[in-house]
Symmetry: T
Subunit: 137 residues, 12 copies
């Protein structure tokens, strides 16, 4: 099953950045985890909002399901939300950390209301669950 | 693996209540789904806050992981939150519907900040994912 | 015409509790008033949230109209609201006192948006009006 | 029993305006309904705030009870509220639609706190109930 | 002197639950402390809102003073507040922890405005002080 | 000295309306008081917003100072504010009662920021002071 | 093409009132501009809320498009909004000044959500654009 | 007539400080103006909160009327408000500038609700009016 | 007349994206419409914030008027606002849909206060009107 | 046991000031009550913020426990809070009246979060309880 | 270069008070640091608001630049702000700790908007930087 | 000493953009000023969020101190904040203008809470001070 796994800003530094919050798995570990769960998973990361918007347009055109960890954009990028809302295949929002335990500005997600569902706080395993769920649809 | 799957008010009416929001699976379907995923799953439902608090105390004493769908209490019952915060084994919060698409008072969860993680909007399959995650810990 | 007249916490103490706010009629007076207006009226009171939810489920299953004075739950119990929203027959919300003249936290009702209509501040006569209205439907 | 039934802006267009919200009864139907319930009912409608204030002064001087549907003024006209608060006979506030199901700015009533009681969401029958209640005082 | 000492949800787990917040005294220790201070003290605990409301009604009927630690209900149960407001003998609100140092939603008490006074943050000794104060009235 | 003394809704009922708030002086007393203080004072009252706006336009054209008690419009009529802001001669806002002691929605004045100054809570004498002040300019 | 161009309070004073905000064109200039753009344009102005509501009812009955500059009523008159929402032909809201650069209470429009579209800050030319747009529909 | 005219922080610098806001009259001019209006006027100024509180206690004990310009304390000193609320003779609050035209934090007065009335924006003449009003009581 | 017509994120997908909100015209249709109205119109679109900022700097340097549809950036990009505020030629803000009818976070525009004026809700015709207006300046 | 009992503004007037709120005990009565409970109690009162800060520094240096009734400063003086937060011995906050029953601005205490605990609404007996509690530590 | 370095409440206890927040430098160290950087620096500290206001008046009269660490007054003392706003020479606000990392009520400064600039979080070195900056003006 | 001096959107236009706010120094002047103060200073500017995030990652990896003027991103870019929070060497936030004197949305900084300290309003000299401070660490 083809699926786009799209990761937003700073997620390329996984394992380096605040390991007590994000765990010790690195970004390459994450890529591997996703591809083991689903060989056709296409895992990408960008710190550039325009690039992310382009990938979401690509997914919308291809009618491919998306797993989206928009990182910090989750909380303010209406542009990413608008791109995500154009998807017609399922969209699963994933966050590695439990944002409800962090600063108050992280408690609001612009993505959730345009996603099919959300998985948060279950570490990089959240991606595995999202893939498993998509595989059953 | 022993796990308590605790469901709050109105969840006993699954399948009857707003099927466009909650899907067509009934509560017995949900029980069966959980037990297929994990034969030792102990699935319960109550409309009574005191009973739910008691179950959470039981889980805390037994150090058993919990999957909690607190239903409407999610949004106001500090008492259920306080009981949930006493657990030492993992706690996964599950919601069948995507609360971010519903009334604004459903956007706030008192449970999330005391849970390990949250799965929402993925239907009754959310329970399956939560069990799968707990089985890997 | 069968109708459930459901009363929430502290309403069993009518006549005793703040008579300047609630009037001098007692709870037995209220039961009598309802049954004189509609012999098939089934008037109940509980201080227990779970019991109230169960009664609302019963009414939903029986497709019976409900007159609901949720008392203090009006202002915080999303669980009672969710149970009430499952009714398919008409639901009339009644409050004996004019909550708009009382503390600000009583100005918000979680029930109103899921009720057909609301009668407030007209004393125990509000129940009589609600019954009369239901009888005409 | 003499009673003033006062209707605010846009209510003269009942039946024409948003029938799914206000029902199909026309303003003449409403007048007839009130007068059948109480032959001495004096039913009036105005789109002019000053005229409404004058009618309320008239009722205050005559010590006549009032049924008031202030329409849109309910939500902002402190002037109508101040005129209404001068009444010494009972004042019943009526709204045809259930304002709790509509835009948030319609959830606040300046009139409720100076009324004896309020009936909302029961359609034009709300007027009949208000008259019945006044007749029993 | 007869006095009801009423404890709300999760207080039965004292000593077990967050000892750095609530101290090491257990609930049986608390019962003993109260009865040593006042042999006629009737100390009770419940996780069930309806039960607590019933006890407050009992105290209102018996015109007995009450020491109330409503626990988590302090912050949302209008029903417990309404029951408490019916007391005619003194009501002392007690909290073991200093709620002003905890989450913001614990800074608001629905009970304080219907209590005679409040003691908070002085540990289980707060109960002793409340008893001493009642004995002097 | 020519001066317009303009009074808004319900002020024609002075002496009748809430005498504990507004005092026992009647509207004719007020007119007399103003004319004794300043024989050229032109004292008017209206319950009609459009009429008030017209009078303010008249004053703006004539470059006459104005004493304005906009009554309830003070708190919501942007239209009266916009008319008042066109005056080039001084504008003194007067309120008979101390609005700071009344309901919260009376604590905000749309007029104050476009007036030269404000006198409130000094009863009908406030008009006399306003006239005296204008006479000295 | 018949079109009603309806102007609210204080707009009759165009050219006199705050020329740095509204420009130097007078109200007769505005009428002329509209009629040059569309000979059948029926341009009116009133300071009276009831009159404006009546004109909107007239347009609703005639199914004529409307250009509405509700002036200060934009920010508080729910009654004008309710009348405007009854139109079935297009409604273009126009403001001469850029309200986003003025006081904060001018940033909210009750009219926008019931209009087809809005033109603001382009001076009296905004009317010309609105007419041009209507002519193309 | 004995009257205390009490001035708070920075008012000793009148004439020097922001003359476009406060006018060109100096503090000695203000003292003279008051004493000409009322020879027994006792005019004082302090930058020290404790001193102001003491003067208000003195006035409360002597049952002397007070004219209070609390300056910046108006907006935050609950202590000055509490002292002012102990007065039994009339209290007139005066502000030289029109605080409604200044920063938003100056729009709230803690003093107004415990004063008899308030005069603002009429320059140092506000003191003269306050004295004239007190002389008539 | 040279004019830059700058379009923000997701606008390249016009016609594809939510046609009930944005209409059926495609982005190439939009380009054509603008160039027919004004042959020198330079129409551009980007999903990249930095690129948009660069275009605005280019316009500022060339002192060329701009028509800006900042799309989702309208609601959060202070950087785009700051770039837009450097323009010295007129800036017309255009939105295809009526943002006042959509989610609340779309009701606020950071651009409006630095624009000359705004046109919203009139479909792609809004661009034509903006061009027509600029041609007359 | 040495203890500082520090009282803030207006507390020197106890017995005189609003006896229905504060009771009839005078400040000398309060001093006597404290010294009877603890002969080494050092009871002081000041209307001067700087003096209070100095006393708290003295207590911090001497590592003496403090009973603090900061009066009106409780609600705004961050400076008193900062001084209080330097204490290492226990700090008990006392209020004679039940501030939860008074104006909303008295519901917030800057002191509570830096105190060990708080006693409020139990009259001057609150001091006695605070001393008793300190004696047991 | 003459410069006043004015320090507010609790700053005299530097080095003693929360060293993890404020560092280990004592107040005498701070005085020395300033005087080494600028021999004419006049460094003062007070816990008394009136004294601080007086010093600011002195600086205003002498047209001397000021370095102001208003401590806790920063967040509520409008009186200190009003005194500071009278300075005509530059005013540099300094805070030793990074207030943005502390309690929310410390995130707002009344002083910043009347200062030339602000230095915060750089420890006592902030004073040195402020002096260096003033020396270059 | 190696230091990265990173400048966000629109800062490349220094000297051109609002010189009354930002002063007349150009961006090349700024670069020169920094390099004169610290020859190893590496001064960069970008209008592209992704580029800035990359530079911050580079600084985090190199453990180099950073001077960051995030410009408009300061107020909304959680992504830049998250990148900045990964630095382990000191981070000094600089703003050329005094943001506290500008629009309210500029009063909040997402960067401050993850910076060591902040310098604002001291013009381009703020960079010099930041470098001087870093050189002393």
């Amino acid at each position: 099953m083809r699926v786009l796994v799209l990761n937003g800003p700073n997620l390329g530094r996984l394992g380096t950045r605040e390991p007590d919050v994000y765990g010790s798995a690195t970004y390459p570990d994450l890529v591997k985890l996703c591809q083991e769960a689903e060989p056709e998973a296409d895992v990408r990361q960008t710190d550039d909002e325009g690039t992310m918007i382009g990938w979401l347009h690509e997914a919308a055109d291809a009618r491919v399901p998306v797993i989206l960890n928009a990182g910090a954009w989750t909380h303010y990028s209406v542009a990413v939300r608008d791109a995500a809302s154009q998807l017609t295949a399922p969209l699963v929002e994933v966050h590695i950390s439990n944002t409800a335990k962090r600063e108050e500005f992280r408690h609001t997600s612009l993505i959730s209301a345009v996603a099919t569902g959300t998985i948060l706080g279950l570490g990089v395993d959240g991606y595995r669950l999202a893939i498993a769920w998509l595989q059953r649809q």
